[in-house]
């Protein structure tokens, strides 16, 4: 088990390397001289030379990358071109909002999804099954931003239960979290259902019945436990997709966060901010998947043993 954790942790290093290379080259992939995208309109030729020096753009690409990476790792993520403040401070300010939204929506996806999945698999091919699956399907088919707008329209404007936007209280978190969570919940519900139904057909279930156990005991103790494992894996792999919803939802509900910071930086071509927020978002996804992987390895004795 420890070997497994260690190996997975070591794997994060090349992954971080790949991500950093991609993010670094971003600024060079945009058409035109990168310096143009770093300059604010109305700068002089001197500004240009100065900035070129400051960013080390006069050096070769690998050297530039090393300098950038070294600075990045030590916490110097550069200066925002527009906001004129260290990117590090911006990230530190925005991060808690995204984490809060992310965790809340993961919570919603997982619990709503798993319960819908269990209900519909236990009531297979009945009215309840269809209703749960339609809810799940809607979660997958409706774009998150549209759902956000409609929920806002109904619960904030028409009913006035929740504030339209803002970021302070728990109340402001509710609608965004539900919106983002719905997409994930749909996915999880469908996987849970399939996985549960598959378990019913496993041969070991026959022996459980033959032991004289009741149906409810079999479902709760054995089928659910086994069915949950593929759900955890896919949950981990699709974590990014669920978080992807958060990026747009921050815009819809005008919440601060890494997502809205990234988007406004993209509009304004504020590349140092783009680079830093990208690294943080992608690492969040990778680490999330990593944790889900470990959970899976812990829950399944077969996987646990492979690495003994």
């Amino acid at each position: 088990m420890w070997i497994y954790i260690l190996r997975r942790t070591l794997l994060l290093i090349p992954i971080f390397f790949i991500i950093s290379v991609v993010v670094f080259s971003l600024i060079h992939l945009v058409p035109g001289d990168p310096i143009d995208s770093l300059l604010i309109p109305g700068s002089t030729a001197e500004d240009r030379v100065e900035l070129t020096k400051a960013y080390g753009l006069d050096k070769s690409l690998p050297v530039q990358y090393c300098v950038w990476l070294q600075k990045f790792v030590t916490g110097d993520m550069g200066q925002s071109i527009i906001e004129k403040q260290p990117v590090k401070d911006m990230i530190l300010y925005n991060m808690p909002f995204t984490i809060r939204l992310g965790v809340a929506s993961l919570f919603v996806s997982f619990f709503l999804g798993v319960s819908l999945g269990i209900i519909s698999s236990a009531a297979k091919n009945t009215f309840i099954d269809y209703i749960s699956m339609i809810i799940a399907l809607l979660g997958v088919t409706v774009p998150a931003f549209w759902l956000g707008l409609i929920l806002m329209l109904i619960f904030s404007v028409m009913l006035g239960w929740f504030p339209v936007s803002g970021s302070g209280s728990l109340k402001t978190l509710f609608l965004p979290a539900v919106t983002v969570g719905m997409g994930g919940a749909g996915l999880i519900a469908r996987i849970t259902r399939v996985s549960m139904l598959e378990m019913y057909n496993k041969e070991f279930v026959l022996l459980l019945y033959a032991k004289g156990l009741s149906r409810s005991a079999i479902i709760i103790k054995h089928i659910f436990r086994n069915a949950l494992m593929p759900v955890i894996t896919i949950f981990g792999l699709r974590l990014g997709w669920i978080l992807g919803g958060a990026v747009t939802i921050e815009i819809v509900f005008s919440r601060p966060g890494i997502g809205s910071m990234l988007l406004s930086a993209l509009y304004r071509r504020d590349y140092p901010v783009v680079q830093a927020s990208l690294v943080f978002l992608t690492m969040a996804v990778i680490i999330g998947a990593f944790i889900a992987d470990l959970m899976y390895a812990y829950a399944d004795p077969r996987v646990r043993d492979v690495y003994k």
């Binding site: 033959a210 004795p301 077969r302 043993d305």
Partner: protein, 323 residues
């Protein structure tokens, strides 16, 4: 008092709005402590018969008809709750494939104790001791250690012993074993079969042994029931059936098994295939493959005819002679 008497057992399924009866006219009886071997090829309905006796066919949505007299109860008339208290307690079951019959995420010890704990209302400690005792009797080396292991950590032979331990730990009166050693290597099969038989004999447990291996049945059982396409076609004491088989199918089946020392070119084959469920021919289900077929076979379903005490056969050849 009867121990087990199955009469006219029938299972009906509905597939695509068409009714199919994969087993029909299944009748046999067992005495206490007796070993009954049930033999048949794939699709003959052996496993389904076992599931029907245990009331498990409802799981897959089939309707069970007929009578299963076990002691003084008709099992088919019991409620699911009452059946649960009999299953695993008085009637135990050993499934076909030990590799996939254990829950992969629980320790094997806990899986043995689970049924014991439910039916015998004893403390966890006592249940564990009981389980270890059974495991030792089944010659599981280092039982204490194996108790703590997960199924995937055990070899096929050990897994099979665990599954047998699950069946035996509650000391049931009847044990139904569905191809208990088919998945194992021959040398391991020989070990486990011997152990298994010794334990059932010692405890006086009645054993319904389902297999396609006539050799196992010859060596192990007191009586044999031969199944073909969902019917029992011949039933009788093991020596009678092997030495003087009556049904043409039983005869043919015995002749198509190769043995060591058999002369080359002397193997017989049965013409054609076993019909699949839902495609049974009219009349006797064996008649399209039968060399002895005559007029009534293609139209009239043969009834079980009693030839001697305990010996019955479902074939028109013997029907006529009795009349």
């Amino acid at each position: 008092m009867t121990f087990l008497k199955v009469s006219d057992l029938e299972v009906e399924f509905c597939v695509d709005k068409k009714k199919i009866t994969p087993i029909e006219q299944v009748s046999f009886e067992m005495k206490k402590g007796e070993v009954l071997g049930m033999v048949g090829e794939t699709g003959s309905g052996k496993s389904l018969t076992a599931h029907a006796i245990m009331g498990l066919s409802s799981l897959v949505g089939g309707k069970i008809r007929g009578r299963v007299q076990f002691g003084d109860k008709d099992l088919l008339s019991l409620s699911e709750r009452e059946m649960q208290s009999i299953r695993g307690s008085q009637i135990a079951f050993i499934p076909q494939n030990p590799m996939t019959s254990l829950d992969p995420v629980y320790r094997v010890g806990d899986q043995i104790v689970e049924g014991l704990y439910k039916h015998r209302k004893i403390s966890k400690r006592a249940a564990k001791l009981k389980a270890l005792e059974i495991m030792e009797k089944l010659q599981i080396p280092k039982a204490n250690h194996v108790f703590q292991q997960y199924p995937h950590q055990l070899s096929g032979g050990l897994k099979q012993r665990i599954v047998i331990a699950i069946g035996l730990c509650t000391s049931p009166q009847l044990l139904i074993a569905d191809e208990p050693t088919t998945a194992l290597d021959v040398t391991v099969q020989a070990q486990i079969m011997r152990l298994f038989l010794k334990m059932t004999k010692d405890k006086g447990i009645g054993l319904l042994l389902i297999t396609h291996d006539l050799g196992v049945i010859a060596q192990v059982s007191d009586k044999i029931a031969v199944m073909y396409a969902g019917n029992i076609v011949e039933f009788g004491p093991i020596k009678t059936v092997f030495n003087t088989p009556h049904h043409p199918y039983t005869k043919a089946l015995l002749n198509c098994i190769p043995t060591i020392g058999m002369k080359k070119g002397t193997l017989d084959a049965i013409y054609g295939n076993v019909p699949t469920v839902g495609n049974y021919p009219p009349g006797c289900r064996y008649q399209p493959r039968c060399p002895d077929r005559f007029a009534p076979c293609g139209t009239i379903v043969p009834k079980m005819t009693k030839l001697a005490e305990d010996t019955r056969v479902a074939c028109h050849k013997y029907n006529g002679s009795k009349d």
